[in-house]
């Protein structure tokens, strides 16, 4: 089962079992829903912006281990970042998950998601939270879907 342990790394299982920054965020300045209609994964992202800094963020939702762990890892990675750095991180994650680059140093722990590359059907599970975050920071109001 070596392949599977690349996908379901201990960090991912841990974040799935105990998601960080889960729940509603009091004082959120924006919230946005993300939805993967193909598999039904659904999450709501809450952001509190302080100027161009993501001062705090939380999420709630339901989905597979990959989508929950990805959202949880994302909240840890993004908290306190300026929008320009969020954008750079998004680009790095996108390249990593679509197999166009190895993990850049700025990805940190998020790099554990790289195993998803070998499972094309699951890439959307990992990208859902990130697309939702990006749309939220760009002022999008309508729910984001991965289709």
């Amino acid at each position: 089962m070596s392949d599977l342990s690349d996908l379901y790394q201990e960090v991912i299982l841990d974040h799935n079992r105990n998601p960080r920054n889960a729940g509603k965020l009091p004082g959120a300045t924006c919230q946005l829903e993300g939805y993967n209609p193909l598999c039904g994964d659904r999450l709501t992202l809450y952001l509190r912006m302080d100027g161009d800094v993501v001062a705090d963020l939380r999420f709630e939702g339901q989905g597979c281990a990959i989508s929950i762990a990805s959202a949880s890892l994302m909240t840890e990675a993004v908290k306190g970042l300026r929008l320009a750095d969020v954008e750079a991180l998004f680009a790095g994650v996108h390249k990593l998950l679509t197999g166009r680059a190895e993990a850049a140093p700025n990805l940190g722990k998020v790099a554990v998601l790289s195993g998803v590359r070998e499972y094309p059907a699951r890439i959307k599970c990992a990208t859902l939270a990130w697309h939702t975050l990006r749309a939220a920071t760009q002022g999008e109001q309508l729910p984001v879907t991965t289709e």
């Binding site: 089962m1 599977l4 299982l13 039904g40 994964d41 597979c64």
Partner: protein, 423 residues
Amino acid sequence: MSGIGNHLPQQRPGSGLSDTDVLRIRQDFPILQQQINAHPLVYLDNAATSQKPQVVIDTLSRYFAHYNANVHRGIHALSERATQAYEAARDKVRKFLHAHQPEEIVFVRGTTEAINLVAQSYARPRLTDGDEILITAMEHHSNIVPWQILCQQTGAVLRVAPINRAGELIPEAFEALLNRRTRLVALGHISNALGTINPVKTLIDIAHRQQVPVLLDGAQAVPHLPVDVQALDCDFYAFSGHKLYAPTGIGVLYGKKALLDAMPPYQGGGEMIRRVSFSGTEYNSVPHKFEAGTPDIGGVIALGAAIDYISDIGIARIADYEQTLLAHAMACAAGVTDLQLVGTARHKAGIFSFNLAGVHAHDVGTILDQQGVAIRAGHHCAMPVMEFFGVAATARASFAFYNTHDEVDRLFAAIDQVREVMH
């Protein structure tokens, strides 16, 4: 013709097919002879689409290699051969469904198109504001959305007959929803998400007592149990070829001749006309009235080959055998405390929908696939069913007659690995 004829060995009592029969049958399906992720393929996604026996593949290939031509048009030899094979397939379908006459068999793209045809051609001209269509809470999206569109077009109201926690319809509640405004009942014969075999004869009788016609969505039923549309007395019956071991893109609408005769065409074009002028057009008779344009000729002929293949084995034997696979799976699941079955009807086809505690169905699907076990994970195009049971998705193993009891054991061994990986 490959393998299966009248030379099958003695069957195991009550099982329909012996293990030896099934091992021989598997040789007829080239796709099953492969490894997936370094394990022998265990294909348990038959409710999504079924695999094709060599004889179906050969029939399709022979048509394109030797007598590809348009039907009902040419006077040349190839067109005559193609037309003859096409109409012969129509009669094979008629016989398989026990319909009265071949004119009652309309070729369409699939179950979805058949239901849309009935919604738009039968129901739409008859409906006015406040009329009702009755469906059930266990329908596939393809037996929900065409009726919602119809209701938007006409001002009609969609009523939904409830189900119980086992995933069974409640005949009294169904009957209570019928009233003088009900114009049509549209009902799944077997639920794709739950496996429930509905008591369709009883429900049709109830509806007919109030002069309400009934359409059956037979997509999951036709491949897995004998269907007799005259004994059922259903008014319309829809199914797809690709779930019946035939190619994708071909399906069937059965309709009682008197109903089809009275319906306007669904699409305009060639084939469906008798005479066209700019002052008016005279339509062709049924079934051609509903077969505008060049049909999927190869698909129709291959569907005929699939029906021959299934009939040689015997659909009743297939049904009996598949029940033993389901019983085996249910026995394996009994007493497994972290496995929640979704769909526990008393009368159930070989569809095994489940969730593992604390593990999302998509993770189950990926981990099973890594062990060569192909199942479906998701909402199964039945989101209202998922909502009713309070789940986002289920994992679904669905059986066909080429599956073995060993493969059911492989499924459960693979499920054990899910626990290993996820905990």
